[in-house]
């Protein structure tokens, strides 16, 4: 930064001046190589690619105007590592170390495209050059993720050059806190952390609450398994979160902010700390920001590793250095939260939307989405779907479009069974509701919920009773134990589910589960317990026949529950190679070489070894 001559800004004019200077210096270095350093690409070795590109840039000499940079998650994690060459936006996928030299020589220096590394549209069989021509991206509308894939998250100058902190500047010059809140109210933005509470209304209550100091907190705990969108925002565009918090703090009248980051995300902590330090250096965080009378400081805290800490009151307890146990919310946290003071807590994605709303206006935001759910939502699309990754779509899009058009349908040609949304206390939505529109109300009506944005697709081989058991087990382990219904009720439900999946279910078990579920909903202390029965209730609602098959016929239709199906060898497909016979640990398989083999059902322990080992898929689950 210093070589560009940026120092602490003491006015808006200086910030604007710097932006212009940055943009002018940009056009000179014409080419740039964007290496994705989202978690997916990093796990597949993209940092190494970045190093090799940097070495290539250095080796190319000073007359070649090119720069290599790390950028945040592009979302198409399935196809990582991703490298984009600008200008032109040539989108390379599944790039490996040996490809770097070719990309550099052909595309960067020669201006030619390396066909082999382009994405191939499975529908047309054609190679696609640019991201926005790939079906995965076509349907998306990116607001919260708009900086991902574009910006170097470790460089504040990149964010500033792309219009960063203009929203803060706008707020600090002519807007009153009241006007800021009205703009956010007008946008219709609702919390992206799960509850969907109107953000503007929350800010207003906190502003009006008696007491000081007031606190502003960003919830980066992201505890829902199967969800990683907050991580990608914190790591891919940390300044958008910081700018959102600054605007919120100004509107609410707070000088102290905290970002609470999940323990499993060390890179998020690092990127945020770096971003806050850079913003401080430039006078965008700290005392008298941009020469105004507004001051705001941000601290980053690492979470302790407990799911329940994502809940607002538990999170605040954890920040205070206590066990993360929630409390009953008779008194709202906007009145008495962190350290007993008025506290406004919002989710990462909620904060990241704020600068866009200020820049483009609440009315623009309210023009996207459905009547009661405005804007876009980021989902992490995972499970048995072809294209896993991060997607941002306008509210109101149908589930079918997300799964089929963006997700590319179900893996391995299997059939769709259900999609699970809303985190561990969400619900499973079956095929007959795939045309439902994705918004807060609609998902709740279907017995699921928006949650923080995990979307887990399940195929026909997924046993829904096991899914229900999986979530119940998860929540029972994460229950803090403070209230009895949650502590004991979940244990009982798990006990019943265990016996059903063991083939020992009893008539009446479904009703018992429903009764326990109702009890939890009515009497548990916090939202974890109140909604913990959702996965069980929603699977009973849509997949009752699967429960019945387990209980009444001792059969698992998805053939996942051990003991509730058999292995048999298909004599047509078996050519008697003997691999299963050799590997069977129970000596349950007999047969001569080159003659179809047979499994002795008396001896078979259902371990599945033969099924795994058979090279001809001749072993069947029946």
């Amino acid at each position: 930064m210093t070589e560009l001559g940026i120092k602490r800004f003491s006015s808006l004019v200086e910030l604007e001046g710097m932006r212009e200077k940055l943009l002018n210096s940009r056009s000179a270095s014409a080419k740039s190589i964007h290496v994705c350093t989202g978690p997916g690409c990093v796990a597949k070795g993209s940092f190494k690619l970045y190093e090799i590109f940097c070495a290539a840039v250095e080796g190319a000499g000073s007359d070649v105007q090119v720069q290599a940079k790390c950028v945040g998650c592009h979302g198409f994690c399935e196809r990582g590592p991703i490298v984009v060459i600008e200008p032109g936006g040539i989108f390379y996928q599944r790039v490996e170390e040996p490809d770097v030299a070719e990309i550099f020589r052909e595309t960067v220096l020669g201006g030619r495209v390396v066909e082999r590394l382009l994405y191939e549209d499975p529908n047309t069989g054609k190679k696609v050059e640019k991201a926005n021509e790939i079906p995965f991206y076509k349907v998306q509308e990116r607001i919260a993720l708009s900086g991902n894939g574009l910006l170097d998250p470790t460089e504040i100058s990149d964010y500033i050059a792309e219009g960063g902190y203009t929203a803060l500047a706008k707020v600090l010059s002519p807007m009153t806190p009241e006007e800021v809140i009205s703009e956010v109210e007008l946008s219709g933005l609702r919390g992206r952390g799960g509850g969907g509470f109107p953000t503007g209304r929350k800010w207003r209550s906190c502003r009006q609450a008696e007491g000081s100091p007031k606190y502003v907190i960003c919830n980066g705990d992201e505890g829902d398994p199967g969800a990683f969108m907050d991580r990608c925002i914190m790591e891919g565009n940390p300044h958008s979160v910081i700018e959102g918090m600054l605007i919120g703090a100004y509107a609410i009248g707070s000088e102290h902010g905290y970002i609470y980051v999940r323990n499993e995300y060390p890179l998020s902590v690092e990127r945020l700390k770096n971003a806050v330090a850079q913003a401080k250096e430039l006078g965008l965080v700290g005392e008298t920001i941009l020469g105004s009378s507004f001051s705001f400081d941000i601290r980053i805290n690492r979470g302790g590793g407990a799911f329940v800490c994502g809940e607002s009151t538990a999170l605040m307890a954890s920040l205070e250095g206590r066990p993360g146990e929630p409390r009953a919310k008779y008194v709202h946290t906007v009145e008495s939260g962190f350290r007993g003071k008025p506290t406004n807590l919002n989710n990462v994605e909620t904060w990241a939307n704020i600068p866009h709303i200020i820049n483009r206006g609440g009315k623009w935001f309210a023009g996207i989405g459905t009547e009661k759910s405005k804007g876009t939502k980021v989902f992490s699309l995972v499970g048995n779907v072809v294209n896993t990754g991060l997607v941002e779509v306008p509210m109101g899009i149908t589930m079918r479009r997300i799964i089929d058009e963006i997700g590319g349908g179900i893996r391995d040609g299997k059939r769709f069974k259900a999609v699970q949304t809303g985190g561990p206390s969400g619900g499973c939505i079956p095929a007959e509701h795939l045309d439902a529109r994705v918004d807060f109300e609609e998902l709740t009506k279907l017995g699921s919920m928006m949650g923080s944005g995990g979307m887990i697709v399940m195929d026909e081989e997924t046993c829904m009773v096991r899914v229900a058991k999986y979530f119940t087990d998860f929540l029972q382990k994460e229950s803090c134990g403070k209230c009895t219904p949650c502590r004991e009720g979940l244990a009982q439900m798990l006990y019943i589910l265990d016996r059903i999946t063991d083939g020992e279910g009893q008539v009446g078990d479904i009703e018992r589960l429903e009764e326990l579920g109702g009890l939890l909903e009515g009497t548990a202390l916090c939202a974890l317990g109140k909604t913990a029965a959702n996965p069980v209730i929603s699977t009973i609602r849509y997949f009752r026949d699967e429960y019945d098959a387990h209980i009444l016929d001792g059969r698992c239709p998805a053939k996942e529950c051990r003991g509730l199906f058999r292995y048999e060898i298909d004599p047509e497909a078996c050519n008697g190679c003997g691999i299963c016979l050799k590997n069977c640990p129970a000596d349950a398989i007999t047969g001569e070489k080159k003659v179809p083999h047979v499994i002795n059902q008396e001896k078979c322990t259902l371990c599945g070894t033969c099924w795994e080992k058979c090279p001809f898929t001749a072993v069947l689950k029946v």
Binding site: G40, A43, A306, R322, S380, G383
Partner: protein, 161 residues
């Protein structure tokens, strides 16, 4: 008080001095960050050190132990040289995660939360590693291994001695 806790009492408190020295006006709010740093410095949370934290900061020992046992990240026993973390998240579950947990259990001969006798591995499960597109996925120390099946586990673990 610290000499009542036995052999561990000889643990060096130098690292702790530095940690406490780096925090101005230490108070209860700082407890989680203190424990995180202690664990980083010592590899785990040694009891005598926790007692010293209590003496120096005035935070009640009961509260310190309450926090240390509530959060999954803290451990009161030494860890193995390598940590295997297997995801038990939803995306991994529907892509064969339970089989991976089983395979690690068999390979190491320990349950989640335990350390092998030779102190080579500690085995943990986590709610989600945030890399669901690699499901099912495990992490060994800082390395990710994705798109796994049970057969790959042994050779992965063999790389860590």
């Amino acid at each position: 008080m610290s000499n009542t806790v036995g052999t561990e009492a000889c643990l060096d408190t130098k690292a702790l001095d530095e940690i406490l020295g780096s925090i101005p006006d230490v108070g209860g709010d700082d407890l989680v960050p203190i424990l995180q740093q202690v664990q980083k410095a010592y590899g785990y949370l040694p009891k005598p050190i926790l007692m010293t934290v209590s003496e120096r900061t005035g935070i009640a020992a009961a509260r310190i132990f309450g926090v240390a046992t509530f959060y999954e990240q803290f451990h009161l026993e030494p860890h193995g040289r390598h940590t295997v973390r297997c995801c038990r998240g939803t995306a991994c579950h529907v892509r064969g995660g339970p089989g991976i947990i089983e395979a690690i259990k068999q390979a190491l001969g320990v349950e989640p939360g335990e350390t092998t006798e030779d102190m080579r591995f500690t085995f943990e499960t986590v709610a989600c590693l945030g890399t669901c597109f690699l499901a099912p996925v495990i992490m060994v120390n800082n390395d990710y291994f994705g798109n796994l099946n049970a057969r790959k586990i042994k050779s992965i673990l063999e790389r860590y001695t």
